[in-house]
Symmetry: C2
Subunit: 197 residues, 2 copies
């Protein structure tokens, strides 16, 4: 009775909130969704494989892709290019398959402009105190880095209202259930369905 | 980190599609939601209790409520008034509690105008053949009635695109799961949340 396209689900949130864990857990429970692999001009690190962690490309190849509207968003960070390839995601959508993209706030808002049907989900910490606790308990961040990340978090939170959905990451289990509900609900949205006879 | 209001979930669909069963099953599984009881001027039938099946009111009381903006929608059918009372639902929303309303297409669209935050869900049959089968297998409908209801269904389906969500009622279990996902997702919508510190 209804026909649907696949969805692009964009997940953002401040550093330390637990985005990676929630995405990984959701992907492990669902077969119909793939993780979007970014394109970069940085060199592969030992153990990294082309097409798994990143698509590794030369600067010339990247700029060529960019100039041919090949990215939903791209950024230049510390002398290297990073981008979200458009064709893989559009092909999956046309086939009715979903894609999950884990990206920073600036990138997410660029993606929404390039692809207004993208579903933007912002993962919030239960509180700023809890975010600080999570960043410190990683044990890998210097005091300076913790403060920088907390400062960024405050800025990033001010964009949460531009997102489609907010999830407070109290527990991974609850957040995965909410993400799952959001994706199921988005597949039922009348403006994303075509009624057939 | 976020504060939310309760939701009004409005469920419609053609006669015979299985709205009542899906609503009843969802309500039996969830405590945080109440079924909206309508106001009517028709007399109670044996066994009906005021405030359970309907709020039974005199015509004068009904008109007084109506003229005081007391209804989200109302209709006059076969010489009797029917209406969805506004205050009960608005109070529940303010308390963060959800309300489920089972209503025809015309009523649902009136409710959306009176309360734009209401979430409209349209329950579709898997096919028109299946709807016909479900209507006939009730065994309570005359041939004439079956044809009238099928004709109405065609008209009603043309309004499905004005709804927020569509659910194809393949099985009650799947439809209840989708309804549940929609309600969870709507509680995560950024435009329905207030971010607190």
């Amino acid at each position: 009775m209804i026909k649907q396209k696949g969805l692009l689900i964009v997940m953002s949130g401040p550093s330390g909130v637990g985005k990676g864990t929630v995405c990984k857990e959701y992907l492990s429970q669902n077969d119909n969704i793939a993780f979007s692999v970014s394109v970069t001009t940085r060199a592969p690190r030992p153990g990294e494989t082309d097409g798994v962690e990143y698509f590794f490309r030369t600067e010339e190849e990247f700029i060529n892709m960019r100039d041919n509207n090949g990215f939903l968003e791209h950024a230049y960070v510390h002398g290297k290019y990073y981008g979200t390839p458009r064709d893989v995601i559009e092909k999956r959508c046309a086939q009715g398959l979903d894609t999950l993209l884990d990206i920073d706030v600036q990138g997410a808002l660029q993606v929404k402009k390039a692809m207004p049907d993208a579903v933007l989900v912002f993962l919030l910490p239960p509180s700023m105190q809890e975010l600080e606790h999570r960043l410190r308990s990683r044990g890998t961040e210097s005091e300076e880095n913790v403060l920088i990340r907390l400062g960024n978090a405050v800025k990033e939170l001010s964009f949460a209202k531009d997102y489609d959905y907010l999830i407070v990451n109290d527990t991974v289990k609850d957040s995965v259930e909410r993400l799952s509900a959001i994706i199921t609900a988005e597949h039922c949205r009348a403006d994303k369905c075509e009624i057939t006879k």
